[in-house]
């Protein structure tokens, strides 16, 4: 009756990666010269611009394609992208904001129990793989929603997927499997 048995699992989004286009050629030197908070990388052919308000780093290519990383939500990413487009517009380019797409979302979540990774791997072969010599976490790839969950033995998991909804679904899917292989938190 009362929800004292419900437990909220905090899924904390740590990074959202989005791309968009401005539909015009950009002169990277002008941006590097007239822009604040800008790092020019001629060897990679791009300019890194960092915004303060949504804390975002954008890689700007001369073709007009831009990748934004560092946002903490999809809307934040969109706002940051639009801010960036406005800055470029002010710098004198004929900018049209288009093709905004969130490409990758990274979230972390902490289970209230530890996990026995070897049991988890054995129960979920071949979707799960664990090579302790290569990486300390077991990787669980959910193909149909294109999400990857990395499970650590302390109970933390990191989830990456193409959007926030996928990430939530992935956690939902993987929770019962983790729960089966939990370790009592004693030693």
């Amino acid at each position: 009756m009362d929800s004292s048995n419900d437990e909220a699992l905090d899924i904390i989004i740590t990074n959202v990666v989005a791309t968009f286009r401005v539909r015009c050629h950009l002169n990277l030197r002008t941006i590097a010269l007239e822009g604040n908070n800008v790092i020019y990388k001629p060897d990679c052919g791009k300019v890194l611009m960092k915004l303060r308000k949504p804390k975002i780093t954008a890689s700007i290519w001369s073709s007009g394609k831009i990748i934004c990383t560092g946002a903490t939500s999809e809307d934040d990413a969109k706002l940051g992208a639009r801010r960036l487009a406005r800055v470029l517009q002010k710098l004198g380019f004929r900018v049209r904001f288009s093709a905004f797409k969130v490409v990758n979302v990274l979230a972390v979540c902490s289970m209230p129990f530890s996990i026995a990774l070897i049991d988890f791997t054995v129960n979920n072969r071949p979707i799960a793989s664990y090579e302790p010599e290569l990486h300390p976490a077991a990787t669980y790839r959910i193909k149909h929603i294109k999400a990857t969950v990395q499970v650590f033995s302390t109970g933390s998991i990191t989830v990456t997927g193409p959007n926030v909804q996928t990430v939530a679904t992935a956690v939902e899917q993987v929770y019962p499997l983790l729960f089966e292989c939990r370790k009592p938190l004693r030693k």
């Binding site: 004292s4 048995n5 419900d6 437990e7 909220a8 699992l9 905090d10 899924i11 904390i12 989004i13 010269l33 007239e34 822009g35 604040n36 908070n37 915004l51 308000k53 949504p54 903490t72 939500s73 809307d75 934040d76 969109k78 706002l79 639009r82 801010r83 406005r86 800055v87 002010k90 710098l91 972390v108 979540c109 902490s110 209230p112 129990f113 990774l117 070897i118 791997t121 072969r125 071949p126 793989s129 664990y130 090579e131 302790p132 010599e133 290569l134 300390p136 976490a137 650590f152 033995s153 302390t154 109970g155 939530a168 956690v171 729960f179 939990r182 009592p184 938190l185 004693r186 030693k187």
Partner: protein
């Protein structure tokens, strides 16, 4: 054509002879030379068997040279590792299969060599003769990351269910590498590998129970456990004084840096257990714990239980002494945690309601009942009111005991929609004024000129 056509249509003579032109039968008139009749030059194609051009013109088909070389490399690796015939045959079969798959047929020869090593690795694992990936990368002189990537791809393609790497199995093979038998070193420093392995395996099991092994690279742990077991088998001054550096030099192995940290962690665990031994009067410190290691390992389960009970009693005594209400019943504390979350200032946390009735109560055998709610609050708030479960349990992974500080989330980001208006003033802060731009250009010019000179 009847053979008795007697008259030539040209001149009318009947002097007609058979005069074949190469392989074509022809009948020719002798007087005027005209061809009276001729046979068919070739047979009609009867459509028996369709044989392709490449097949008719090919010489005897040979198997791919690189495949043969690769199989020989597989054999060589197996011989170096001295595995049995079955493993050798399996690896060769896997190699042939993987080599001809699309994913590996066109890769570089270097990668094909790595593939050979991975085939040996997987056969060893399947047939219970575990070898570490480090050994294989050493043999191939390849980057361990590349070896790992090829290994995982190969497993996926060939659909192999290889057993997971377990450190205890590899322990024996690893300890053979250490040259500290009486043939190689003076008698007082020598140790036979069987005793060494046995004790090292016990140490590793203890480490696994106390959160030292999980999530760490196995080789430094093995090195640390061998070093500690060597010291504890004869804990005299000479051995105790020998550092890991010197030990590795003596045993002719390459020292691994993380092994030092593992040694410290294991010694700490041994001290915690050593304190519980009833017949030890003096204080147990990392310096004098090595003498007690044999007893600790023999009675480690009992000592673990005692240590946990003592720890629990200490915690209870502390909380009663402080008189706070910091040890609520489980249900109440989870209620507090829930309310805390709903009003909390962890704004970017998306709350996900779950029905996890039995998740709240950890399984039986949990000597530490206070760890439960912290999993929820620990992630979101940076100033958590109670320490995380690492601080309150006796044994916890170091990453939990000393957690990384997560950056504090800003509360105003909650109401962003993405389509708001953007004011000009904030955009201007990202653009340099013309004067600033000119000065910047000048400074750059000056800097580049001074670099040239």
């Amino acid at each position: 054509m009847s053979a008795s056509v007697t008259r030539c249509p040209g001149c009318g003579s009947s002097n007609i002879v058979d005069d074949d032109l190469y392989c074509q039968a022809q009948r020719v008139c002798v007087d005027c030379g005209s061809v009276v009749s001729e046979g068919v030059l070739t047979d009609d194609w009867t459509g028996d068997t369709e044989i392709s051009y490449s097949r008719t013109t090919a010489v005897a088909r040979k198997p791919c040279l690189n495949l043969i070389k690769g199989l020989q490399r597989v054999k060589a690796i197996c011989r170096i590792l001295r595995v049995n015939n079955e493993i050798e045959n399996h690896s060769q079969a896997y190699y042939t299969q993987a080599y001809q798959h699309d994913a590996f047929i066109r890769v570089s020869l270097q990668k094909k060599e790595v593939l050979a090593g991975c085939c040996v690795l997987v056969s060893c694992r399947l047939l219970n003769w575990p070898v570490t990936m480090g050994t294989i990368s050493c043999l191939l002189d390849a980057d361990p990351v590349v070896v790992g990537a090829v290994y995982q791809e190969m497993i996926k393609i060939l659909n192999i269910k290889a057993p997971v790497f377990i450190i205890n199995d590899v322990m024996e093979a690893h300890s053979q590498e250490y040259k500290i038998s009486s043939l190689h070193v003076p008698e007082e420093l020598a140790e036979n590998s069987r005793d060494l392995t046995k004790r090292a395996v016990a140490l590793v099991e203890l480490a696994a129970d106390t959160w030292i092994v999980t999530g760490r690279h196995p080789t430094p742990i093995m090195m640390a456990s061998i070093y500690l077991s060597w010291q504890s088998l004869k804990p005299n001054k000479h051995r105790l004084k020998l550092t890991l550096d010197k030990f590795c030099q003596m045993a002719k192995v390459n020292k691994l840096k993380p092994a030092m940290k593992r040694i410290a962690e294991m010694k700490e665990v041994l001290c915690k257990l050593g304190r519980e031994i009833p017949w030890v009067r003096e204080a147990v410190t990392p310096d004098n714990v090595m003498q007690q290691v044999e007893d600790i390992l023999n009675y480690r389960f009992a000592l673990l239980r005692r240590a946990l009970r003592t720890h629990e009693e200490t915690l209870q005594a502390e909380s009663e002494a402080s008189g706070e209400d910091s040890l609520p019943e489980e249900a109440a504390s989870s209620q507090v945690a829930e309310h805390g979350e709903q009003n909390s200032n962890a704004p970017t946390a998306e709350e996900y309601e779950l029905n996890a009735e039995s998740a709240q109560r950890p399984r039986d055998g949990n000597d530490d009942p206070h760890t439960e709610p912290e999993g929820n609050t620990g992630g979101g708030e940076s100033q958590a009111p109670a320490p995380n479960w690492g601080k309150r349990v006796l044994f916890a992974p170091p990453c939990v005991v000393h957690p990384k500080r997560r950056r504090v989330e800003r509360p105003e980001c909650k109401d962003v929609t993405g389509d708001e208006d953007i004011s000009d003033s904030e955009i201007d802060s990202y653009i340099r004024t013309p004067r600033e731009a000119r000065e910047f250009a000048q400074t750059q010019k000056m800097l580049s000129e001074s670099e040239k000179t």
